[in-house]
Symmetry: C2
Subunit: 203 residues, 2 copies
DNA sequence: CTCCTACCTATACATATGTTTACTTCTAAA
DNA sequence: TTTAGAAGTAAACATATGTATAGGTAGGAG
């Protein structure tokens, strides 16, 4: 049920290209002309099927109201930038959202992900500088040594994460900083997610 | 000539919101209803002015063919990723384009800009690692000490740029690498542009 | 063969939508 | 006061566009 025919794929691609170029969707007759068809019916059939199969969304009776759902090529998703979070969790409360930044969809699932502005130089040797933005995928555990966002009490921090039995070590990437060590029952500490990308703006 | 009235701003905002929500533009009558107007004329006037003032683009006679140019809030632009360029200039030949990455429009003008994949560790102390992507704004000159993309013969390199009279020095940010020094008439050397942002994907 | 689907032509209809003409009201600048 | 622009009402008009009806052809599955 999922697969589309070659022809349907051609139509879908044309729709995507058209939107890319004009930033509005083609009309049925636009598509008709492009493929040199002599009737609008064929085009509507294709669109109907693309809608059925979940590739397109449409508002019936409305001009140029096509929306591409699954492109199978690429797309852009908007990821919220949560400020330099310190106190005031939960992280994703709407009040904390400063902005939305575009991310390539081929970076994988972006649902739930968010950007966080890094505060301080503690990760400088991992090439993460003060003010850089990190893209965070929320997850309760990370692999040994991965760079993670960790919540300690009301503070959020970015560090390399290690766990030895019930001891948790958060290692900065800067010799001027000391490792942070916790024991399980010690404090309210929790892995928020894993750092997936780094974005820095110069100038 | 540039400024828009409060009412026009309201209309523009509504158009942006509508597009965000539906991913296609509102019709004139959609706007009319939203503002509780009893004629389409007023709306068309507003749109005409927004077009005149460069905030909107429109295909006349075409349904829902509005395109927001200047949002004054935010937008997304796509910037081409030129591969790990070495030989094979000119840089922006279409064959070199690997992909397009989304960039926030509030990063300024993106016309002509491109992403470049950095090769090697020579800028490691500027927190630019092997494989990182740098966003480049083409420009023939850069300020003293700025990080620039420089073309030497058929190779492109990312370095800190200095010029002393007719001597050009390209300084790596890694003690293991030696500065590169050129004289004006020495070789075919040219500043391609300035590094404006750094993007790194982990995992 | 028969049935079904993908794909297409031909023609027509209904309405969604951009455009226009003619006026009115209000505010601010000259 | 006069003038000009912003904002809006009213009533049409023209066409761009989605939708529907009636078939037609080709190929695969049963």
């Amino acid at each position: 049920m999922r697969k589309i025919t070659d022809r349907q794929k051609q139509v879908l691609e044309y729709i995507c290209d058209f939107i890319d170029e004009h930033s509005y969707a083609p009309s049925i007759r636009d598509i008709q002309k492009h493929f040199g068809l002599k009737s609008t019916k064929g085009v509507k059939d294709h669109i109907d099927r693309l809608v059925d199969k979940g590739y397109l969304n449409r508002k019936e009776g409305t001009a140029r109201a096509l929306k591409v759902i699954r492109d199978d090529t690429k797309a852009i998703k908007k990821v919220p930038l949560v400020g330099t979070v310190a106190a005031g969790l939960p992280l994703l409360a709407e009040e904390n959202i400063e902005d939305y930044l575009p991310v390539s969809a081929d970076m994988g699932r972006t649902e739930g992900m968010f950007f966080l502005r890094v505060n301080g130089d503690s990760m400088i040797n991992a090439a993460i500088l003060d003010g850089d933005l990190v893209l965070v995928r929320p997850q309760p555990f990370v692999e040994q040594g991965e760079i993670a966002v960790v919540r300690i009490g009301d503070e959020a921090t970015v560090k390399r994460f290690f766990r030895f039995d019930s001891r948790i070590e958060l290692l900065p990437e800067n010799p001027d900083f000391e490792p942070i060590v916790y024991w399980d029952e010690d404090e309210d500490i929790r892995v928020v997610g894993k750092v997936t990308a780094v974005l820095r703006t110069l100038e």
